[in-house]
């Protein structure tokens, strides 16, 4: 499936990705109010991937409902809505509002690393905060909830467990890893926001370990995210315990139909190695 924040800004962009082989698409994270996001540059490349600090631009939940409805009507796959909030209660509020269009699932972006100046530390660094948000949302709506976690915490498995205990229906991991690139001529960080989040191949081994650790601790499904670019990368994630994977940055490396390509590569591998079902490889590395 498509990872949040890559494409996914409008209903039409989600539809466009769905036509390129994605099994599901996740919207750009939507917050309580309109946010411009950071000025450019918001993305810069380095040898192992990309650094981004887009700054959660979005039209605000009220203005976004129309876009999401368009996507739901026109996309050829399920459209998962990603939400964030500046405070715990805002988070709950946005999730409840977004739920009004009847999404098949809501992903909670508890882990964006690029808005610390505005919002403080991501909620995914605290078991209590993450659990509070999930419990409050689950009390109000019955739509399945997926908690998206950050890689840069010492107790990731514990946080995932707290989310499960609070009622989360799935965990997605991981969001980007904090990083910085400095332009040596201008002697300044290249991103306007100075620091950003690392995505792409450099994130992959980190994400595989996170998924491995989480899936040993929780029983709910884990969705693997981070640097998945080929079918083999996706298979690694699944052997680590993921039941599905999300893809973002690889759109840059392989084009918009990366989803179709990755699925085909996985099928070829499974066939060549005489697996009868993908289920045989989920968690196989444990």
């Amino acid at each position: 499936m498509l990872a949040s924040g890559v494409m996914g800004v409008s209903g039409a962009s989600l539809k466009y990705v769905s036509e390129n082989g994605a099994g599901a698409v996740v919207s750009k994270s939507i917050g309580p109010e309109e946010r411009k996001g950071h000025p450019n540059p918001v993305l810069a490349e380095f040898k192992g991937g990309f650094l981004n600090a887009v700054g959660l631009p979005n039209a605000g939940v009220e203005n976004s409902l129309g876009e999401l409805e368009f996507a739901q009507k026109n996309a050829s796959c399920p459209v998962i809505v990603s939400v964030f909030g500046g405070s715990k209660d805002e988070f709950v509020d946005v999730a409840v509002k977004a739920n009004s269009i009847g999404p098949p699932m809501i992903e909670l972006d508890l882990s964006c690393p690029n808005t610390e100046v505005d919002f403080g530390k991501p909620f995914a660094t605290s078991c209590d905060d993450a659990a509070y948000i999930i419990r409050e949302i689950k009390q109000r709506i019955s739509t399945p909830i997926m908690a998206k976690l950050a890689p840069n915490v010492p107790n990731l498995a514990e946080i995932a467990k707290a989310c499960e205990d609070a009622g989360a229906d799935a965990i997605s991991a991981v969001n980007t890893m904090p990083g910085m690139l400095i332009d040596i001529e201008t002697k300044k960080p290249v991103l306007y926001n100075k620091s950003g989040g690392v995505s792409g191949p450099a994130l992959h081994p980190i994400a595989v370990k996170c998924v491995y650790d989480i899936s040993r601790t929780v029983k709910i499904p884990v969705v693997g995210i981070g640097g998945v670019t080929t079918g083999k990368d996706a298979l690694q994630m699944m052997m680590a315990g993921a039941t599905a994977v999300q893809i973002g940055t690889a759109i840059y490396y392989r084009g918009i139909d990366v989803f179709r390509q990755v699925c085909e590569e996985m099928e070829t591998y499974l066939k060549e190695n005489n697996y009868s079902s993908i289920n045989e490889i989920i968690g196989a590395a444990h």
Binding site: V6, M7, G8, V9, S10, G11, A12, S13, L14, K15, Y16, V17, E19, K28, E34, R35, K36, G37, P39, N40, P41, V42, L43, A44, E45, F46, F50, V54, P57, N58, A59, G60, N63, F70, N74, L181, D183, E185, T186, K188, V190, Y192, G248, T249, I251, Y252, I256
Partner: protein, 261 residues
């Protein structure tokens, strides 16, 4: 590598009131119709079409309309600017008898295309329009290149009175043309696409708010088809432009909220 490369401003020329041509000594190797992202450190980074290009240098045409373009217009020779790109589709040259329809700074990228086309032995009629005589741009450049120039002004202060599209309709009724290319104000582009639809092949160059320029952020996707104007555009066939129902109606601002045009 998607990372700004610092290049030095070589010279700045005035084109018309509020429009400057900024030249950089750098072999960009862009196709006509492609654009670059220009970075002013600490400020922002925004898209500009390549308007001039030789093996030694390239030039951008900057129309001062807001904070970024105003600051960019004030760069001096020796200043350093970050450049990423070139990005996007270019124009696709086909046929021999071509028509270019330009409005405002959009005329520059068409002039670069005309340069290439003339080298390939094409015959070019170039329609340039503006509200009045003093706002007409690149007319000298176009005449010197060897194109047939038709100018239109809304007030009739020079050339034919009316719109570029009036001149285009007249031309198409008189001659057979292989392909039409257009860049300029959105309403003009839509009209060009409509006039050409079903009659003659055409390409138009579109603009939408861009952040990454290379197809990741999704900011430049257009309704209802969802294509990215930074990758599948900015130059698209006229038939594609007619499918983009938001053209002429609304665009998305920096946050992605829709704003009526």
């Amino acid at each position: 590598m998607e990372y700004p490369k610092m290049v030095t401003v070589d010279r700045v020329e005035d084109e018309a009131a509020g429009i400057k041509n900024i030249f950089f000594k750098h072999d960009l190797q862009a196709k006509p119709g492609q654009f670059v992202m220009a970075w002013l450190p600490d400020m922002d980074e925004k898209p500009f079409a390549v308007g001039f290009q030789t093996a030694e240098e390239f030039g951008l045409t900057v129309s001062a309309v807001g904070p970024f373009s105003n600051t960019f217009s004030q760069v001096k020779p020796g200043d350093r600017v970050g450049i990423r790109g070139p990005y996007g589709t270019g124009y696709k040259l086909e046929g021999k008898k071509l028509v270019m329809v330009g409005g405002g700074y959009g005329t520059a990228s068409l002039a670069l295309l005309a340069d290439h086309a003339l080298q390939q032995g094409c015959e070019i009629t170039f329609i340039v329009g503006a509200r009045s005589k003093d706002l007409l741009v690149y007319t000298e450049r176009i005449k010197q290149m060897g194109c047939t120039l038709i100018t239109t002004t809304n007030d009739g202060s020079e050339g034919m009175q009316g719109f570029t599209t009036d001149a285009l309709e007249k031309l198409l009724s008189e001659q057979t043309v292989d392909k039409v290319f257009s860049c300029g104000p959105e309403k003009m582009l839509l009209k060009v696409a409509e006039v050409c639809n079903g009659k003659v092949s055409c390409e138009v160059s579109l603009e939408r708010y861009m952040k990454c320029g290379f197809g990741i952020c999704g900011h430049c996707c257009v309704d209802p088809i969802g294509i990215r104007l930074c990758v599948e555009g900015p130059v698209v066939p006229g038939e594609t432009a007619l499918k983009i129902t938001e053209l002429g109606n609304y665009h998305r601002v920096q946050s992605s909220r829709k704003e009526t045009l």
